[in-house]
Symmetry: C2
C-alpha cells in the first residue's frame, strides 16, 4: 500500500468501521480517514440493549459512553481520535472502477473519491416470511428499538408479548419482559429446543425447563405459519396454535447488509455475507469488509462461515487497519464462542454442536458431564452441565457447550483456545488451570468431560438424560439416603450401592440395560465393572441431576421395582 | 510393559499416588496394585485446609468425602476402586536391584516385592534455618495441623499470630486468622512484596495494601533473623524488628520428600525433586515418580522445574497409570498457573513473572493495564489490574498476572493455554472469547494488555505505578470532574483534558515527562500524540487507579502546580 497519503472511506460507524478508522488515524495520521454513517446515534454497545429493557442498565446513554463518561458522538471521534464521522449520510452507490462512492445526505447526493473503501455495513434483523411493516411487529436490534417498547411497557399498554425465536436475543428479551415488567411472555421457536444453534437438545432442554420455571410460555417445534397485526393486538399462528399478544418481537437472527457490495459485484458467501480473506480483502482490489457484513473462517471446519458477533467485529476492524497501514496481520479462524444469561442460568458454547457437526459432514459424538464449578466442599459451589463434542476416530474436539447455575464462560473461553488449535481429547484431559477452592475444582470440568469422552470411546457409553425409562431395566447404584431424597419412577429398578457392587455382581443378569446415579460418575464406573463381567449396559449421561434439569422425571413417584436391595 | 500380571507398589496415598493406583486398577484389574501410606488420614483435599481454619468450610470431614458423601478411607478404596491401601506403613528402604521395598508397620518390618514402583511421597513444609521443634512454631500442611490451631484460637489461647512467608498459604492463613478469629496477625516476608513468586512488585504492592487495609500487619523485606519459643509465646526477629506472638506459623514453601529415592540413587533435579521425564519415569528403570516429589518441565523455559501444585499431582498420577498400562500418554510442560483469594481480592498468575524471567536469562518486558472485568456500563463490573510479561524482540508472551475485585482466574486460565503453545502478543491481541455483558467486556482484558504491550514495543512507554512523582512534570489529561474527584499530589502539574490535547499541543514544551489519567488508556493515547509531535513522555502504567491500589498516592493533597488549565 506504500506510504503515500491515501484516502480511506469507511461505510458504517459500527464496531468494525470505527475501530478500523480510529486505529488507522493513529497509525497513519497523515492519511484521510472518513466514516459515512446514515444514522444519528451510532457507536453504542448493541449487546447491552436487552439489559436496558430489563432494567439492569439504568441509564441507556451509558451504552454510548466511554468508561470515563465521554459520549462517543462525532465530536468525540473528531477531537479525541482524529476521525471525521459524517452522520446522516447514506451510501447509495459504489463505483469500484472509478473508486467513487455516491452518498446521499441532507444537502443532496455527492460523489466521494477513495483509494481504499471499507464496507462495515453491519447486519439487519431477519424478517418472517411475508412479514409486513407494522408498529406492533418489531425487531430489537438498534438504539431506536428500545424506547418505544420501554414506553409501551411502562404505560401498561403492553402486558402480553410474543417473541419469535429462542436464540440469544430471544432468550434475553424473554427475561427482560418478565423480570422487570412482569409481562406475559410467549416464546415461539421452530426448533425442538431453545438456542438451537448454540446448544444440542440435551442442554437446550435444560434452558427450556428453566424458562418455563420462570413463567415463560414456550412453543417449541413451532414454525410461524401466519401473523396478523391489528391496531391493538397481533394474532400469530405457530405449530398449529394461535397466540394473541399486544406486540410481537421478531428475533430470528440477522442477515448481512450487503446491497452496496453486491451491486458493485463483490463475491458473496455463506449467509449472503461479503467474502473476505484473512486480511479482510474482498474479491475486488482496494475494497475491504469487516464486521457483521463479512464472512469469517470457521476454526473447526476450515470453511467460510457467517458469524455476526460483536467481539469479532471489533477485532476485524483492528486487523483491517493494520493491513491497510501495511503491517503484517491476519484475522484468525473463529470458533464462534458465545455466552448468554437466561434468568439464573449461565449458558456458553464454542465450536460446533453435535447437530451442526453432523450437518457439516463430520463424524461427531458427544460426552456429557454434570459437575460442580468449584470443589464440592466449597459452600458456594454450583452445578454445571457440560457437553463436549468430538470427532471419531480422530478424537479431535469439535465443540463445548455448558449450562448451569455455576461458572461456564471460563470453561468455554479455555476450550475456545484449544479447539482453535486442533486440540484432542487427550489435550483436554491435560488442560492446566489455576486451581484454588474459591475458583475451580481440582479436576477441571473440561478435563473431566474429556475423560468421560475417552471412556465412551472405549465402550463406557451413556444414554441421553432426556430419554424416558420406558421398559428398560435400571440399576441404581446410589446410597439408600440418596434414593430416599431423590426417588426415581422407573418401572424396572434394581438397587445396589456402588460400594457393594463388586461383591454383588453375581446378583445381576444381562437384563440390566441402564445404570443411574446422581451425576453420572458412579454409574459410569459401574458400567465399566459390568462390562468387565460381560454385562452390557449404558449409564444415564450427566446423571439424575441433568435429567431433572431437563424436566424429565421432575415429578418422580415411587412405584414398581424389579428388585429392592 | 507387556500384559503379564504385574505387581505395582505405590508409596504415598496422596493425590498423585491414589489417582495412579485407582486408574491402574481400572485399566489393569488383574494386576496387583497396592498403596503404602504412613498416616491414618489420607486422601483429603489439602488445598481446602486454610478454609477450614477460616470457617468457610464448616465440616472438616467434607475434605475427605466424595461429592456424594462417602469418606475416602481404605475401606472406600478397596470396595469402590479395588485398590488396597496399607495405612500405618512407612517405607524405610528401597532396593532397586532386587526390586524390594522395606516397609515398617505395626507388626515390624517386611520386604515387599514389586515389578514397578511409584514414588508419590509428596512434599513437606520447609523450615527456617535453625528452627527447633516446638509446639508454638508450627507448619500448616496436613490434616493434623488444623485442629490444634483451631482449638487454641477458639479457646482464646491464641490472640496474636505471626505468619512467616507471604506466599499462597501465608496469605490464605492471614485472612483466616483475621476474618473468623479476629486475631492480631503479623506476616513476615523476606521479599519486597507479598506473593513474590507469583506477582511482580507492581501487583504485589496491591496485595500488600489490601492486606494492610484488612488490618494485617506486614513486615516486608524482612528475612527472619532469630526465633525463640517459650512456653507461652514466641519471639521472632526479622528485618531488625522483634515480633511477639503466641504462635508462629512457618509458611515459606515446601520441599520434596525424596529420601527414599535419593538413597536408592535416583537422579535429583531442581528443588531437590526426583527427575522424571514426560512419562514420569525416573533415572532408574521401573521406578516412577509423580506429584509433589517430582520435577516437571516448564512450559516457558523448557527447563526442568519444581512446581508442587495439587492440580498437577492429580494429572500426573493419571498419566503415569496410562503409561504403566502401556498406553500412549505424556505429561505436558507446565506454565504454573495459580490462584489465591486474599480477602476481597482475586489473585491469579501463570508463566513467568518479569523478575523470574530475567533471572532465567530471558529478555523480558512487561505491560500493565487497569480495566474492568465486564463492560463499564454493567452495574456489577469490577476492576482488575493485569500485568503481561513478554520477551523482546520475539514478542512471545512469558506470563500473565492479575489482581482485582473482578474476575481474574478466567483470564489466567485462557492465558495458560496460549502461553503453553508459545503464543505471541499478536495471538493474545486476537484472543477469542464468549462475549456477553454479564460475563466479559467486548475487548478481552488479555487482548487489551497485548495491545498495550505492542504499543510499548513501538515506543509508547509507561512508568511503574509505584513510582513517586518526584520532580517530574506531569500532564493530567483527565476531565475537570475527574480531577476534582481524585486529585493528585504531584508538584509540577499541567492539565489538559484529552479532548483538547490535539488543539492545545502548542502549549506544551519538552519538559513534560509523565502523562496520567484514571486507568492508563487516555494517557497512553496522549503519549502517542506527543511522540508524533516530537515530545518524549511516558504514561503512568495502569493509571491512577493502579497507583492508588498500591497505596502510592493514597493520601492525595492538592498542592503546587506548574500550570493550571
Amino acid at each position: 500500500m506504500g506510504d503515500d497519503r491515501r484516502s480511506v472511506l469507511v461505510v458504517g460507524a459500527s464496531a468494525a468501521g470505527l475501530r478500523c478508522a480510529c486505529r488507522l488515524a493513529r497509525l497513519k495520521p497523515d492519511w484521510t480517514t472518513r466514516v459515512i454513517e446514515a444514522r444519528e446515534v451510532f457507536s453504542f454497545a448493541a449487546c447491552g440493549l436487552p439489559y436496558v429493557l430489563s432494567g439492569d442498565i439504568g441509564e441507556p446513554a451509558s451504552l454510548r459512553r466511554t468508561d470515563y463518561g465521554a459520549i462517543r458522538d462525532s465530536d468525540y471521534f473528531s477531537r479525541v481520535k482524529g476521525v471525521e464521522v459524517l452522520v446522516g449520510r447514506r451510501a447509495v452507490a459504489l463505483d469500484v472502477a472509478r473508486r467513487r462512492l455516491t452518498v446521499g445526505g441532507p444537502d443532496g447526493a455527492e460523489d466521494l473519491p477513495w483509494d481504499d473503501l471499507v464496507l462495515a455495513t453491519g447486519a439487519r434483523p431477519l424478517r418472517l416470511t411475508g412479514q409486513a411493516d407494522h408498529p406492533r411487529v418489531v425487531s430489537f436490534h438498534v438504539w431506536e428499538d428500545v424506547e418505544p417498547l420501554t414506553r409501551a411497557l411502562a404505560s401498561g399498554e403492553i402486558e402480553r408479548v410474543a417473541v419469535v425465536g429462542a436464540g440469544l436475543v430471544g432468550c434475553e428479551l424473554a427475561e427482560a419482559f418478565r423480570s422487570l415488567w412482569g409481562a406475559e411472555v410467549v416464546v415461539i421457536e421452530a426448533a425442538e429446543t431453545p438456542l438451537p444453534r448454540v446448544l444440542d437438545p440435551d442442554l437446550g432442554a435444560c434452558v427450556a425447563r428453566h424458562l418455563r420455571d420462570n413463567d415463560v410460555r414456550l412453543l417449541l417445534d413451532s414454525p410461524v405459519e401466519r401473523i396478523r397485526a391489528d391496531d391493538d393486538r397481533v394474532s400469530l399462528t405457530a405449530g398449529g396454535e394461535t397466540v394473541e399478544s399486544q406486540v410481537v418481537v421478531v428475533a430470528i437472527g440477522v442477515e448481512p447488509a450487503v446491497e452496496l457490495g453486491r451491486d458493485a459485484g463483490l463475491e458473496l458467501g455463506p449467509g449472503g455475507a461479503i467474502v473476505v480473506d484473512s486480511r479482510m480483502a474482498t474479491s475486488v482490489p482496494h475494497v475491504w469488509a469487516a464486521g457483521d457484513c463479512a464472512t469469517v473462517q470457521h476454526a473447526v471446519t476450515g470453511d467460510r462461515d457467517y458469524m455476526p458477533l460483536g467481539s469479532l467485529a471489533n477485532r476485524q476492524g483492528r486487523t483491517l487497519a493494520n493491513v491497510l497501514a501495511g503491517r503484517s496481520d491476519a484475522f484468525p479462524p473463529v470458533a464462534g464462542a458465545v455466552a448468554v444469561k437466561v434468568f439464573d442460568r449461565n449458558v456458553a458454547a464454542t465450536g460446533c454442536t453435535k447437530s451442526s457437526a453432523l450437518d457439516r459432514g463430520l463424524t461427531a459424538q458427544s460426552a456429557r458431564v454434570t459437575t460442580l464449578d468449584r470443589p464440592h466442599y466449597w459452600p458456594e459451589a454450583k452445578e454445571i452441565h457440560l457437553e463436549l463434542v468430538y470427532e471419531i476416530p480422530s478424537c479431535r474436539v469439535l465443540g463445548v457447550q455448558a449450562v448451569g447455575e455455576g461458572e461456564v464462560a471460563k470453561r468455554v473461553d479455555v476450550a475456545t483456545q484449544l479447539i482453535a488449535r486442533g486440540a484432542t481429547l487427550n489435550d483436554f484431559a491435560h488442560v492446566e488451570q489455576a486451581y484454588a477452592p474459591p475458583y475451580a475444582p481440582a479436576i477441571e470440568p473440561l478435563a473431566l468431560a474429556a475423560m468421560v469422552a475417552e471412556n465412551q470411546v472405549e465402550g463406557v457409553e451413556s444414554v441421553s438424560p432426556r430419554e424416558g425409562w420406558g421398559e428398560h431395566a435400571v440399576l441404581d447404584v446410589r446410597s439408600p439416603d440418596e434414593v430416599e431424597t431423590r426417588p426415581v419412577d422407573a418401572d424396572r429398578l434394581i438397587r445396589i450401592p456402588l460400594e457393594e457392587l463388586r461383591e454383588r455382581l453375581g446378583e445381576l443378569d444381562d437384563s440390566v440395560e441402564w445404570v443411574i446415579c446422581e451425576r453420572g460418575t458412579r454409574s459410569a464406573e459401574a458400567v465399566r465393572l459390568l462390562l468387565r463381567h460381560g454385562l452390557r449396559a449404558r449409564y444415564l449421561g450427566g446423571g439424575l441431576h441433568w435429567r431433572g434439569a431437563t424436566g424429565n422425571g421432575a415429578d418422580t413417584r415411587r412405584v414398581g421395582r424389579v428388585r429392592q436391595s
